[in-house]
């Protein structure tokens, strides 16, 4: 599998402030990578470094095997980008802006552009200054996807979009994926990442703290177990791998990491009336990772 994006010790400092600690990351051809992190974690800085809008303090990045500092224009011929904050030219109409951005890219798929305009129900003849935030974001999304670029870099692409348009966006990303395009998706919307991404990278305060598929992460994370009894629930807090035990009336909730057989034996002996177990959602994984690091830092 060929690597589309590779960063090696890529970092960015602003004076004494470290916006991005040395980052080593690879994105493979045809995959959708979710890039997660709270505000100020360094997601946009990473993207601006990859796009060459800002220069790294140290380290390097390659896209399509080309150095992002030396072969920027060649790289950009095969990239499309959707920014999180939009700054378009207010005196142009939406249609003019989309065609301009397509021309600046070097070309675009016109029938697909028309299809996207319809899919996003875009009012193309209005001046950009009259658009809401969501409509401005539609301009960027249509202009990026209509190029059929090999790599799509998306920074909070659905900010300002309503739920229907979010659905249209997901459909468009899946089309790109089927088409063999690679997608680097920075997002706060965990449902969106969970639905679209093959792998997830999680960033915190400029540090990459986790990379992997969702199943890998789930495997490493705790399973949530919820059991209801006729009488008092059994004592499970001291069992191996069990954490976060809570008892509310006859209902016991806990999490377990590792072998589950010992816990199941104890629960079964107490004759539960119901037993539920589920893998953690991305949101729970995300929060647990942040919680752990926060605790570690506090120590």
């Amino acid at each position: 599998m060929s690597v589309i994006i590779r960063t090696e010790e890529l970092s960015k400092h602003y004076g004494s402030f470290i916006a991005l600690s040395p980052l080593n990351l690879e994105v493979n051809k045809g995959e959708v990578l979710g890039y997660l992190g709270p505000n100020g974690a360094g997601k946009t800085v990473t993207i601006r470094l990859l796009l060459g809008l800002i220069k790294p303090t140290s380290g390097r990045a390659e896209i399509f095997g080309l150095d992002t500092q030396k072969k920027l224009v060649d790289i950009h011929k095969r990239i499309a980008y959707v920014p999180g904050e939009t700054s378009l030219w207010p005196s142009l109409t939406g249609r003019e802006t989309i065609e301009l951005l397509g021309n600046l890219h070097g070309g675009y798929d016109k029938p697909y552009m028309e299809k996207l305009i319809k899919r996003f129900q875009f009012a193309e003849n209005k001046k950009v200054r009259t658009y809401s935030k969501g409509n401005k974001q539609k301009v960027n999304i249509i202009a990026a996807f209509m190029t059929r670029a090999d790599l799509l870099i998306l920074d909070e692409p659905t900010s300002g979009l309503d739920p229907l348009m979010e659905q249209a966006f997901r459909e468009t990303v899946l089309e790109a994926k089927e088409n063999g395009q690679t997608v680097f998706l920075s997002s706060h919307i965990l449902d969106e990442v969970e639905a679209l991404c093959d792998r997830v990278a999680i960033l915190r305060a400029g540090h990459l703290i986790e990379v992997g598929t969702l199943s890998e992460m789930r495997h490493l994370s705790a399973l949530t177990v919820e059991a209801t009894f006729l009488g008092d629930p059994p004592k499970v807090a001291k069992l191996k791998g069990v954490t976060n035990v809570s008892v509310t009336g006859h209902v016991l909730k806990c999490q377990i990491q590792g072998p589950i057989d010992e816990l199941l034996s104890v629960l079964a002996a107490a004759k539960p009336t119901s037993l539920l177990s589920r893998e953690p959602s991305l949101e729970e994984l995300f929060l647990s990772l942040y919680g752990e690091k926060e605790t570690t830092n506090q120590k």
Binding site: L53, H76, K77, P83, S87, E96, L100, L104, K127
Partner: protein, 545 residues
């Protein structure tokens, strides 16, 4: 005992006014000081003339139509007070008016279209309260300008050869800022009428041009009554220092009051973002130029470029028509007396009045072209600050190619504007039968290019090195050069000091022969600065506002 922090900070209602003052006070202070230095240089230069030279100057300039159009009808021009009023008031009125309408349209319509008024209005303020707070802040800054100018004028008046009292100095300062006060009020009204900042500023500029034209008609013809119907005419009729007529403050105050009331009424009635003159919100796509960054720049800048070229050409045509009339005055006074109007020539050659007058006209054109270059550099920086460049540089467009494209556009406009003004000046002169050849005028026109190109080159370097200070650097170069030029015409200054002015290195053609070597050096410096700037820009981070 430890003190607990207050649980809730109660802010004063004047927060918007203080915020506006903070943003505008420094500019007002700088203009106040420039007004003071300008009046000092002109007044002291005149005061050092002999009585005979003053009398001759008064006779020659007193009834000269051309100069009357530029500076207004003089009163007691043979006295220091009369000369000071005649030479200084018009200049300060023009600068003050333009500064004021640019400032108010930026702070009212500009802030509204940028969405910042929503933040105010979502709080505890009504639209009228926000408007009045901003206007009150701008008025405070204007009063600060007035106070600084009044202090400077009072100090100048203390000089024993100048000699006018503090009361006269205060009235003089009041007259100097009257144009700014009028156009602060009109600009506020224009901000309610027009949907964008540029159109509000354009309406204000148009109204200013009409007012100035009416004043010029009144000053050049027997229709003196026309002064009574134009806000700039009322200022001329105040005659500070020479038989002051404060009664003309009444129409000025009335004009300001009417504009302010209309502004407040309109602001209270309209929706946020709305305007009396509505804008077209939809349009059929026109994509002819939208294929490259160069074409995009032409598309976005074409109206502004056309306005600059047409505006400066019309100014040149107007001055061309006045050549013969203005030339008579210059024929009759000594070189020293001429120098009190500005640096004319630095040679001992004898020249006709028309040649001397044209030299001043081309100096004005030179300064306008420098201001255009500064304005264009401000637009380049604004593209980066607003994030528009991100849209370009995430696509296969090299930064160097984009920057070279913008430099080519600005340089081309400078050359085209220079040639257009040359042609228009000549056309105006032809009708006056001055006998000056097209060749002489063409040489003078070409002589105006190098300083503007120099400003462009240094501006590109500043844009690359200190992008957030680009406009400060380029306007600073122009203001400094102009100030040194004015001071050096009246005061004896060390050449190391005067050499810091770009204008000091450009002989004023056609009175003096152009120094093509110096022009070449300025252009080479600009070229080198641009190349270094482009190299730095290629490798620096993009910086938003």
């Amino acid at each position: 005992m430890s003190t607990q922090p207050a649980p809730y900070v109660h802010a004063k209602r004047s927060v918007i006014r203080r915020f506006t003052v903070k943003r505008t006070l420094r500019g007002a202070a700088i203009w106040g000081l420039i007004f003071g230095l300008y009046v000092a240089s002109k007044t002291i230069a005149f005061a050092t003339l002999s009585s005979a030279a003053r009398a001759k100057l008064a006779t020659s300039f007193g009834n000269n139509v051309g100069l009357n159009v530029l500076l207004g009808r003089p009163v007691d021009i043979g006295t220091v007070a009369g000369y000071c009023t005649w030479v200084c008031i018009s200049v300060m009125m023009i600068i003050g008016s333009i500064w004021a309408f640019m400032l108010v349209t930026k702070n009212l319509r500009g802030e509204e279209t940028d969405g910042r008024w929503e933040l105010f209005l979502s709080g505890r303020y009504s639209p009228r309260e926000v408007l009045l707070s901003v206007l009150s802040g701008l008025t405070t800054s204007l009063l600060f300008l007035f106070v600084i100018a009044a202090l400077c004028f009072t100090l100048i008046g203390h000089d024993h050869v100048v000699h006018f009292g503090a009361q006269a100095a205060v009235f003089f300062a009041m007259t100097a800022i009257a144009g700014a006060a009028e156009f602060l009020a009109f600009g506020a009204l224009a901000s309610q009428l027009m949907p964008t900042r540029s159109r509000a500023a354009g309406l204000s500029a148009g109204f200013f041009a009409v007012c100035f034209f009416l004043k010029a008609v009144a000053d050049a013809t027997t229709a003196v009554w026309v002064l009574n119907i134009t806000p700039l005419g009322w200022i001329e009729k105040l005659h500070p220092l020479v038989g002051s007529s404060p009664v003309w403050l009444i129409p000025i105050a009335g004009f300001i009051a009417v504009c302010t009331i209309a502004t407040v009424v309109l602001a209270g009635r309209r929706d946020l973002g709305d305007s009396v003159v509505s804008d077209k919100d939809t349009a059929e796509p026109k994509t002819q130029l939208l294929f490259s960054p160069f074409g995009l720049a032409i598309r976005l800048l074409r109206t502004s470029i056309a306005s600059w070229v047409i505006g400066v050409s019309l100014m040149a045509l107007f001055y061309g028509f006045l050549t013969k009339a203005a030339a008579q005055a210059f024929n009759e006074v000594s070189l020293k007396a001429q120098s009190t109007l500005g640096r004319i020539i630095e040679s001992s050659q004898q020249h006709t009045g028309a040649i001397l007058y044209l030299s001043i006209v081309f100096l004005l054109i030179m300064i306008v072209l420098m201001v255009y270059a500064a304005n264009a550099l401000g637009a380049i920086r604004e593209d980066e600050a607003a994030g528009h460049l991100d849209n370009l540089f995430v696509r296969p467009i090299s930064r160097t190619r984009w920057l070279v494209g913008r430099i080519v556009i600005v340089a081309s406009v400078i050359v085209v504007a220079s040639l257009a003004t040359t042609l228009c000046t000549w056309l105006g002169m032809v009708s006056q039968h001055t006998g000056i050849s097209l060749h002489s005028v063409l040489i003078a026109g070409l002589n105006t290019i190098a300083p503007a190109v120099f400003v462009l080159g240094i501006g590109i370097l500043a844009f690359a090195l200190v992008p957030r200070f680009t406009t400060f650097v380029v306007y600073g170069i122009i203001a400094w050069s102009f100030l040194i030029l004015m001071l050096s015409s009246g005061l004896s200054l060390n050449h190391w000091f005067t050499d810091t002015s770009v204008l000091q290195h450009v002989p004023l053609a056609p009175a003096a022969n152009p120094d093509w070597t110096a022009a070449g050096v300025l252009i080479v410096i600009a070229l080198v600065a641009s190349i270094i700037g482009a190299a730095i820009f290629k490798n620096r981070d993009l910086q938003s506002a």
